[in-house]
Symmetry: C2
Subunit: 333 residues, 2 copies
DNA sequence: TGAGTGTGTGTAACCGGTTACAGACGGAGG
DNA sequence: CCTCCGTCTGTAACCGGTTACACACACTCA
């Protein structure tokens, strides 16, 4: 492996000069620069990033901690982060937490020791104290879907409650008379907010009943299971708002197996807007979060923070939008 | 940040001794060890991984280069790699190549400069010369789904051709009389092998015709589009073997939209066994590769290589298996 | 002519670890 | 009593970069 000293020797200069040429910092004479560049060329020299990191205290690496890369929401997010990081000259370490607190702690420690430049937390069991710890260690972080904490870190969220209201309104406008909700895990803030939106939208309607809310754990299987119990209690449900697309897909499956036609018998609306929601038949109406955009923004802000740029807004709330597809089609009544 | 010298000072020993305690190497007196450990505790000292990497020429980081993390096949693979790496004390950098040669070159260079310990290539445009380059730089690599190269690197593959034969046989056994193939991109070796398997299985049947093979680009959209042209030319097709699950899902969608019942009118079989193939209605029969197992094996072998262990087999060919689900159900005739 | 400024370059300390080597000590063996 | 060896510990070089500081030189301006 050729080092900066080899280059210096070949060009007949000191290592400091080579370093200056490399980084374009300080003064370097015109012809000296040429000689150094020639030597670099000839030796096919590439600076050693690790040594650089040690001297700089910068690694050019960011990490993203997420529950599970196999969840399409997070793989899209990860993709966005990596694309953005690459453009900014960063590489990305990814960590699957499975929402396990211990696992997150482990990652945080490992990443700190690695001099990671910054972390994007898309994992849910992240606590306030983790944020404090990161601040103490001066590691910039960006978190997704957290309640606005007092701590100085960028938070990216989307309008979960407003989106849920949109979903229910849309179902009503297309002719639904009794709308159920398949809810995500109660401990997740996104699930809470979407449930809140649903409650707000159905408030005051005589048909509403608490038992129209069923848990679906944000998973396909959960969505599947939720449906059967629901339809037993409420055979006349004609609209379902699922707290995320995975549960909606599960519900769709279960309904089709039960012989219910979508949207003829029951309309179905998801939340998230993962690519997969286009892959079902019928395609799924959903409240789309700008997932890619969230990932991009998270990475952009993190990198800005790393570069020490003052970042104005600390909480970014992104718009969601209704993507109307065939799982909810207007019914004449 | 507390350093090894702080610990040494506090324990009243030299840095060498602290290092020995940390690594359990060399001789250390019993009581000295206790003193050092106490100092480490009290200062909450954690060794700096970057400095360690510089001295060791080891980073404890591996990379996985894949076409696109949003493709469920690769996200499952990535998940397996990360799980295995974590168990072995490694972290994982991931790189989306989009099968772009230039992008891969870029990553390879960046990763080399970062002293990466090893690389898993699941990307397709990787050339023989890249492998040579990695060997020159003594960076262990494992590649997936490549032709057995002469070069000294572990190759993990699965029985694509045999799997394709299984698929076609299965379709015939369940009553299909005319079976089409939606093929992946011709430049990908996996697609080639599956096509070869299809050809082998249909050889000699009078109903076979070259135009039963249609391209589907390994994507959902590709699968969708493939179907319409196919059914125009061959309205009597009653079985389709898709080269991967994504195309099968696309085909399923298109067929359902055309009013064809699956499996009543047409049977459908995919390839890969991604989790998503269970999420359709009907669920998809598929030739399952042990995706997680492939990722796990890739990581295990890579880590073994990194640790300098002699690895016996250089080519690992994993079994595929038929997962029979509702998209192919036996029809009485 | 001398001070002051801008430019170009080298020396050496530093980032925070690992480790080769040397020295000190105590006990066993001749 | 001397030698040899195993145990324990410290000094300092090294991994491969960055950069503070010192110095040299040329040029401008009073």
């Amino acid at each position: 492996m050729t080092t900066i000293r080899d280059v210096a020797a070949r060009a007949g200069v000191s290592v400091a000069t080579v370093s200056r040429v490399l980084n374009g910092s300080g003064y370097v004479g015109k012809d000296t620069e040429i000689r150094v560049k020639k030597a670099i060329q000839e030796l096919n020299y590439r600076p050693n990033t690790v040594a650089r990191s040690l001297a700089n205290r910068k690694t050019g690496t960011i990490a993203v901690i997420l529950p599970d890369i196999m969840n399409p929401f997070f793989s899209e997010l990860a993709r966005a982060v990596e694309d953005t990081a690459r453009d900014g000259g960063f590489t990305v370490i990814f960590c699957n937490s499975d929402d396990l607190g211990t696992r997150e702690q482990h990652y945080i420690e490992v990443l700190r020791q690695k001099y990671i430049d910054g972390i994007i937390f898309a994992s849910n069991s992240m606590g306030e104290d983790d944020i404090v710890y990161m601040n103490e260690n001066r590691i910039p972080i960006v978190v997704l879907d957290r309640a606005p904490g007092k701590s100085g870190c960028t938070v990216i969220r989307s309008q979960n409650a407003a989106g849920a209201v949109m979903a229910v309104r849309h179902l009503m406008e297309t002719g639904c008379r009794k709308i159920a909700h398949i809810a995500g895990p109660g401990e997740l803030i996104t699930a809470q907010e979407r449930l809140r939106g649903y409650r707000k939208a159905v408030k005051g309607f005589t048909w509403f009943d608490e038992s129209l809310i069923v848990p679906g754990h944000f998973s396909i299987r959960g969505g599947e299971r939720a449906v059967s119990g629901l339809l037993e209690r409420h055979p006349d449900v004609d609209g379902i708002f699922a707290g995320n697309d995975l549960m909606a897909i599960g519900a769709l499956k279960a309904l089709q197996r039960m012989g219910r036609k979508i949207p003829r018998d029951i309309s179905l609306c998801g939340f998230d807007g993962v690519e997969m929601s286009e892959w079902t038949e019928p395609e799924l109406t959903t409240i789309a979060q700008p997932i890619y955009e969230m990932g991009r923004k998270a990475a952009t802000h993190l990198i800005a923070r790393i570069r020490g740029k003052a970042v104005k807004e600390d909480i970014l709330e992104l718009d969601v939008r209704l993507v109307e597809r065939n799982s909810t089609r207007r019914r004449k009544n």
